[in-house]
Symmetry: C3
């Protein structure tokens, strides 16, 4: 409570007056600015950045399922396709499931790893996985790619590995981002809330 001096000598009182006034104003103003800052942060959409490096059918699902799921939550999402992951962007893609080297792959019958290397096993496992996903109402890779483009997921092909592995932009699906490098992608991803290397 401010007590003004009767005689107006009261420099100390003036000091107290200023101090109290300032303190109240600063607190209010800082609280206001901090609330504004918090609101600005909360309003900023979350960002998911994925690096998709694998080109088999099984490992094509996680980036696309996570990306489209994040979009339904209103997130900003980008997938950088590099190395074998570039196969996912191909128009004429033929993604297969690798069975050898993955004893965790659920198989219709138990078999040694040597049998998983038999000529017919890769197409069989690929067919099985496609059927399993379809039977359980999960979208196919074709559908997930269409959905991702439609929802605005940034699908970004890595220029450097396109050259190395011999991929051409002409062979890729429509609706994807311009070819770019890791520099550009890292810069874009630098304020990610969740980042994943698949």
């Amino acid at each position: 409570m401010v007590q003004a001096s009767e005689t107006m000598t009261g420099a100390g009182d003036l000091d107290a007056l200023i101090r109290d006034r300032v303190d109240a104003l600063v607190t209010t103003r800082v609280d206001e600015l901090m609330a504004l800052e918090a609101a600005r942060k909360a309003a900023k959409p979350k960002k998911l950045s994925i690096i998709a490096t694998k080109g088999t059918l099984d490992w094509a699902y996680p980036p696309l399922i996570l990306a489209t799921t994040a979009k339904t939550l209103g997130w900003e999402v980008g997938i950088f396709f590099t190395f074998y992951g570039l196969k996912i962007l191909q128009k004429k893609r033929n993604l297969e499931v690798g069975t050898t080297g993955n004893p965790a792959m659920p198989m219709p019958i138990t078999m040694p790893q040597l049998m998983t290397a038999l000529p017919g096993m890769t197409p069989m496992a690929t067919w099985m996985m496609k059927r399993q996903f379809k039977d359980h109402g999960v979208a196919s890779i074709d559908e997930l790619l269409d959905l991702a483009v439609e929802m605005g997921v940034k699908l970004i092909p890595c220029g450097m590995t396109m050259d190395v592995f011999g991929f051409s932009k002409d062979g890729f699906i429509d609706g994807i981002e311009p070819v770019c490098g890791a520099t550009h992608f890292l810069d874009w991803a630098s304020d990610s809330d969740v980042s994943l290397f698949v």
Copy 2:
């Protein structure tokens, strides 16, 4: 700029007094509030979110080792088990090491990839890895899972891939979180400090 009347004794002085006083008070108060904000942030536990997608013995270790390690640092930790990773949650799990396709797997003797596909290699590599970890005092997957549950690591099974791969909640170990989807997990993980796709 405040223009004080000349008829008011010491108006310029008053102005300077106010300015200095305000400046000092504002700085102090803002510093205080910012320190409070920083302390609040520092007190908030760090968060680690892991997506565990692989179901072999070797790839079961990293999510569980990282999760329990983060817990010792006081972090909040969640692992979303999806795709082959669901095998890790099974009560009657039989995690094996895949040798084919991984020429980086340390082998007792050098051998071509074809030999790694021989019927006996998967159980042999699995046995070797278990012995190696045990001999060096590293907990087994059973022990790491028990520890994770005890420490409060959230172990979350992915409902969608449970359906696709034919896993049932009844077959999973006790102490895990309710079955949920990628939407729920991404939302939980949206303020992660470290996020990893294993």
Copy 3:
């Protein structure tokens, strides 16, 4: 609300003067301090933390390419080498490409998975990948490691898995960080902007 004495000439004016002056100064000062804080945050380098767990030629590239790329952007970068990833740090490393289990591996001719397990396929694929990268002007793993050390990328070997897999610090290249554990690395990585498990 400040109540100035009636006997004090211009006390109300003084009150208003102080209020306005304070209000302006507080706003200016708080804005200044918040801008300083924002500038401090913006000036803080971004941080990339990578866990490198794979020891084949193909999976040695991504951590080193991403790490050196992030360094060109001025980021702070650390790679924690664990599990098979420790092979990358070996002076006498012989990184090979696994062909079995990866039907996405571009092959000179179409072949069933069984053929990918033939004795000559691993060295052939390794030779092919090295040539492909060299032909397209991409640095070799040797060059990328040299560059990483020179640029100040922290290359950190995981002590626990060194023991388990039988790696010794003497066998590693020069210029790397002291051996440490997951606890130390997670603590370092806890303010990462981008974190990746390769």
